[in-house]
């Protein structure tokens, strides 16, 4: 870790004013569970770290009849324990609990989960977000067992790490962002993530001097669930995750969203799976069909073909879990 200046603003205005307009000069600090690791690994060495911990406007969960609003500095544990979240969005609760570490969920925040950097081991070993040695990506011929099987034809081959991302996209959430001079904007969760094309780009649409302030999740009576393929019970990453949300009225399903995690540089919305399920009655057969549809277009690399089978299963099980969670 290199030395840096540490700022603890107490308002959003002060915070955004302290952020630079190019990546890497400054970094935002929330719970620090990812950023501190990144600082130690020296994959970022900012001149200034701007902590959000004193900005009270970023904390807390507010529920109304139509939506739940979650402040970016809400901890993952607070999110999963919230009454409204538990009632309406079990997919988020599962996603949090699956992280498997009380320490991480007690300290890690919702904003931090969405903005955390990928765990690609080439990235974490200093080869940049595009995992390049010279001009070429190390991933295709390297050890890519944990890399992307979808959306991997561009320069980015890593997988998005966020567990909340897929669930929030499936639920139709939107993410509110504040920039300098009180400029704010609202980004649909489905448009928040993106695959960087150059080494100096990041994995979200955030500008370097923008801060996620809160997340708005509409209450629409959607059945929803997350299913993750995990090997260990303790702190770990899923191999593959699937979040689903759908209306289930009168025995048939509509308004289906299926979003995969850990398969692409951004959460991967599978319109094929959604279409396969749309209009059906949820049972083993229709769920399996949707699972199969979710694998369409997968382009595994040399070492991650197994993820296709996991996608098939995760989608099927997420759908069955959502339908069961009446």
């Amino acid at each position: 870790m290199k030395a840096f200046e540490y700022a603890t603003p107490s308002t959003l205005d002060e915070a955004t004013a302290q952020l630079a307009s190019s990546w890497g000069e400054t970094e935002v600090l929330a719970g620090g569970t990812d950023l501190v690791t990144a600082l130690k690994q020296e994959i970022t060495s900012p001149k200034r770290v701007v902590s959000l911990k004193n900005i009270s406007a970023l904390k807390g969960i507010k529920a109304s009849a139509n939506s739940v609003n979650v402040g970016a500095m809400t901890t993952l544990a607070e999110l999963a324990a919230d009454k409204a979240i538990k009632e309406h969005f079990p997919s988020l609760v599962t996603a949090v609990h699956n992280i498997g570490s009380q320490q991480i969920i007690s300290v890690g925040t919702v904003g931090g989960d969405l903005c955390q950097r990928p765990r690609c081991w080439y990235f974490r070993n200093g080869y940049g977000i595009l995992a390049k040695q010279g001009d070429a990506s190390l991933v295709p011929d390297g050890d890519n067992r944990y890399h992307a099987i979808f959306g991997n034809d561009g320069p980015a081959k890593f997988v998005s790490a966020s567990s909340l991302g897929p669930a929030l996209i499936a639920l139709g959430a939107s993410i509110k962002v504040a920039g300098p001079k009180r400029k704010t904007r609202t980004v649909p969760a489905g448009e928040f993530f993106r695959a960087p094309k150059a080494d100096n780009e990041r994995e979200t649409v955030l500008l370097p001097n923008e801060i996620v302030t809160d997340i708005q999740i509409p209450i629409r009576g959607l059945k929803n669930a997350t299913y993750e393929v995990r090997h260990r019970f303790g702190l770990d990453w899923p191999y593959v995750a699937a979040a689903v949300a759908f209306q289930n009225k009168g025995g048939t399903v509509s308004d289906v969203r299926v979003v995969l995690g850990h398969v692409a540089p951004a959460p991967w919305a599978s319109s094929g799976a959604a279409k396969a399920l749309d209009g059906a009655k949820v049972d083993d057969v229709s769920a399996a069909k949707a699972g199969q549809a979710a694998t369409q277009g997968a382009k595994p690399l040399s070492g991650n073909g197994y993820k296709v089978q996991m996608v098939r299963t995760a989608v099927k099980r997420a759908i069955l879990a959502a339908a069961g969670a009446a």
Binding site: R119, L138, D143, N304, Y306, R312, T313
Partner: protein, 717 residues
């Protein structure tokens, strides 16, 4: 006269009992000091500069910029080093007033490299170098051609690392002609070797080692070398600066360079007759241990020493990876996984129950009756009969989750090592035992107190145990090969017995009987025939006045073995019960049982703890652990605790341990336990997964990706 022989079962007051470790409270409260906790006045922090290349010539090293940083007190580089052979190879080091300054300084050491080609791949036998080792018995080709069934398979177990919770390192303080050193080590008496003395510029007998607690070694911490072959850097820096220096590896380097267990891959053919008897075993193996030694496959078929027709060809692949070091039962876990997999596949091919198969082939081991007894006990503990099924049987489960059982057996030596102990009895009744041994967290301190207490008829609190220092404490060997318990038990027993006899000689005239008629028991010296005629321990010792009795006990392994104080060679059986989700490839351990003999058990609880610990370590390497190297960059890409996965508590399932007791086992004397139970877990798990899902997952660890690949190959998923 008190005798050295171990007391009979009905006479034991401490030996063999369930006793908690005496240093539990200081560990639980954090009062126990490890190397990292040692802070000396004026101490400097050291950090190492390591090679970013897997193979390169070192062209030049410029340390001027680093040395010029305020707070940097010394920069050292290895002048003899011309070539680096793995990523992480240490080339230089700095000592500075703070850890942060040291960290900044190592960035400023400019090393110029000429990059050379590297090779880190180990799973391809055509990369092997040199003449393979070969072992032959009988005529394997003929036996295979005559066998009723021949089963061939390929199996493998990757390089893993020791993953010591406490990293390698020490605090070193060269002070005048003396060196004080607080290392994390498994060899207190042997730590101060000539190289260390040279590094600090002191005489070897002026090195004072102090290691009261240490956080895991597993075979990788016998000397000061941070990585195999590394220089005594902390000593050099302390000598240079005249100040104490703390040098501990960071976690990433600990995983990448501090030592590892060689991989082992094999193509194996087993010949067997219809009744299941193994008649031929033909294996070609390959392995890497980095630049150093690799897996010795000569001990296969393991532990079936009596298979009549055998051919083992062992190849070694030299790689630009960190070097190997002894890992808990060197060679055995690999040999066990390779052999047991091939044997279980043979049983499956014969459609023979795995337990029947092992009971039958126990005849080919050195201790058939022990294995048979242990197999039956393990089967009972697991409820084998009710759960067992043949591979591929629908009994494994109708849904996606299949259940299965796997068996493995193992052996180990464990003869007590050379050890000396001083026991001192003072006039105030206090008793002190001193040994230059170490407690690796296994309970050595507690066991010494038990043996001495038992001998003197005292409780545990009546004995003060001093260990963790070299001279002037009597020398005791390093803790490797499961040799410590035998060594320290005999040396402390002998010292305590001699000291007691000296005390009895003083007490006897006062009690008006011959010393022969007295014994020490229940905190008293009493007449053997008339136990109510007694003198309290303190009264008896008071007769010494200002005198002390100090006696040295020496364990000479061969003699003690003849005297049946210690022995070697144990057998163990383990069975695993797993569930495999064939739609996700996820393996879950439900239950694992371990049955083990180790002669006379000094402390039942600590002995069981050793087995539990070994099972947990075994589940970790069976299901999760591997050093993953990237071929192009030559780096270990998972040198962290995130993708170098270990088992958590919930992952290890239900563990059950049974230790063999009774006269037949106990009359052999004490035998080491540290290593044997870590041998079978990987093999038992692998066999259980094969039994559950119907196909062999050839390579450990049994991760979902490997399971899915095997299922797809087998046409199941």
């Amino acid at each position: 006269m008190a005798k050295v022989d171990w007391p009979a079962a009905d006479k034991r007051s401490l030996i063999g009992k369930h006793i908690s470790r005496t240093d539990g409270p200081v560990k639980a409260t954090g009062a126990a000091k490890y190397s990292y906790d040692i802070n000396r006045p004026g101490m400097l922090w050291a950090k190492v500069v390591t090679s970013p290349h897997a193979h390169a010539e070192v062209v030049s090293i410029d340390t001027t910029a680093a040395a010029a940083i305020p707070g940097v007190e010394a920069v050292w580089h290895d002048e003899t080093l011309k070539e680096v052979v793995y990523v992480g190879h240490i080339v230089a080091a700095v000592a500075a007033r703070t850890e942060e300054i040291a960290q900044e300084a190592i960035r400023q050491v400019k090393v110029q490299y000429k990059v050379l080609p590297h090779q880190v791949v180990d799973n391809n036998p055509s990369l092997a170098a040199g003449n393979p080792a070969e072992r032959k018995a009988g005529n394997v080709e003929e036996a295979l051609s005559k066998a009723d069934v021949v089963v061939s398979g390929e199996y493998g177990i990757p390089v893993i690392t020791h993953c010591c919770l406490e990293a390698h390192g020490e605090v070193n303080e060269v002070k005048g002609d003396e060196m004080l050193v607080w290392p994390s080590t498994q060899a207190v008496s042997g730590y101060g070797n000539q190289n260390l003395a040279q590094g600090g510029g002191v005489a070897q007998n002026k090195i004072r080692v102090d290691c009261q607690h240490m956080g895991g070694g597993f075979g990788s911490k016998f000397n000061f070398e941070l990585a195999p072959g590394a220089k005594p850097i902390a000593a050099i820096l302390s000598k240079k600066t005249g100040k104490p220096v703390k040098l501990m590896l960071d976690r990433d380097l600990e995983l990448a360079i501090a030592g590892n267990r060689p991989s082992a891959f094999a193509k194996i053919k087993v010949g067997a007759s219809k009744d299941g008897t193994v008649t031929a075993f033909d294996a070609e193996t390959w392995s890497t241990g980095g630049q150093g030694g690799a897996f010795n496959s000569g001990i296969m078929p393991y532990p079936l020493t009596k298979v009549p027709n055998v051919r083992i060809i062992g190849k070694r692949i030299i790689t630009n990876r960190g070097g190997q070091r002894a890992w808990r039962a060197p060679n055995h876990p690999q040999a066990c996984l390779l052999t047991m997999s091939a044997l279980a596949d043979t049983a499956a091919q014969l459609k023979m129950d795995e337990l029947e198969f092992f009971l039958h082939n126990a005849a080919l081991t050195d201790r058939p009756e022990v294995y048979r007894e242990e197999l039956r006990i393990a089967a009972d503990m697991l409820g084998y009969k009710a759960k067992a099924h043949l591979r591929g049987d629908p009994k494994a489960g109708a849904g996606p989750v299949k259940r299965g059982i796997g068996i493995a057996i193992h052996t180990w030596g464990g003869l007590g090592h050379n050890s000396e102990c001083d026991v001192t009895i003072s006039g105030d009744g206090s008793v002190e035992a001193k040994i230059g041994t170490q407690d690796l967290g296994v309970g050595t301190r507690t066991c010494i107190a038990q043996v001495v207490g038992e001998t003197l008829g005292l409780s545990l609190d009546g004995v003060k145990v001093e260990i963790g220092k070299n001279s002037p404490y009597p020398p005791s060997n390093g803790s490797g090969g499961s040799t410590t318990i035998g060594g320290i038990s005999v040396s402390s027993r002998k010292a305590a017995t001699d000291a007691l006899n000296a005390l009895l000689a003083v007490v006897a005239p006062k009690m008006g009987v011959a010393a022969d008629a007295l014994e020490a028991a229940e905190g008293k010296i009493r007449q053997i025939e008339k136990p109510h005629v007694a003198m309290s321990w303190n009264e008896a010792c008071a007769l010494l006045g200002k005198e002390q009795i100090t006696k040295r006990g020496v364990n000479v392994p061969a003699e003690s073995r003849t005297a049946k104080l210690i022995d070697a060679n144990v057998g163990g059986v383990q069975m695993a019960d797993v569930s495999v989700d064939i739609e996700t490839g996820v393996v879950t351990l439900n239950e694992m049982v371990a049955v083990q003999d180790c002669g006379l058990i000094v402390n039942m609880k600590l002995c069981e703890s050793q087995v539990y610990g070994a099972l947990i370590m075994g589940v970790a390497y069976g299901l999760y652990e591997e050093c993953i190297y990237d071929a192009k960059t030559g780096r270990m890409v998972n040198a962290d605790m995130e993708f170098y996965r270990l088992a958590g508590l919930k992952d290890v399932g239900k563990l059950k341990v049974h230790l063999m007791t009774g006269p037949a086992y106990e009359s052999r004397g004490i035998i080491g336990i540290g290593e044997p139970p870590a041998i079978s877990p990987g093999a038992a798990l692998s066999n259980a997964v094969a039994n559950a899902c119907g196909v062999r997952v050839p390579n450990l660890p049994l991760t979902p990706d490997r399971v899915i690949a095997a299922l797809q190959k087998g046409g199941i998923a």
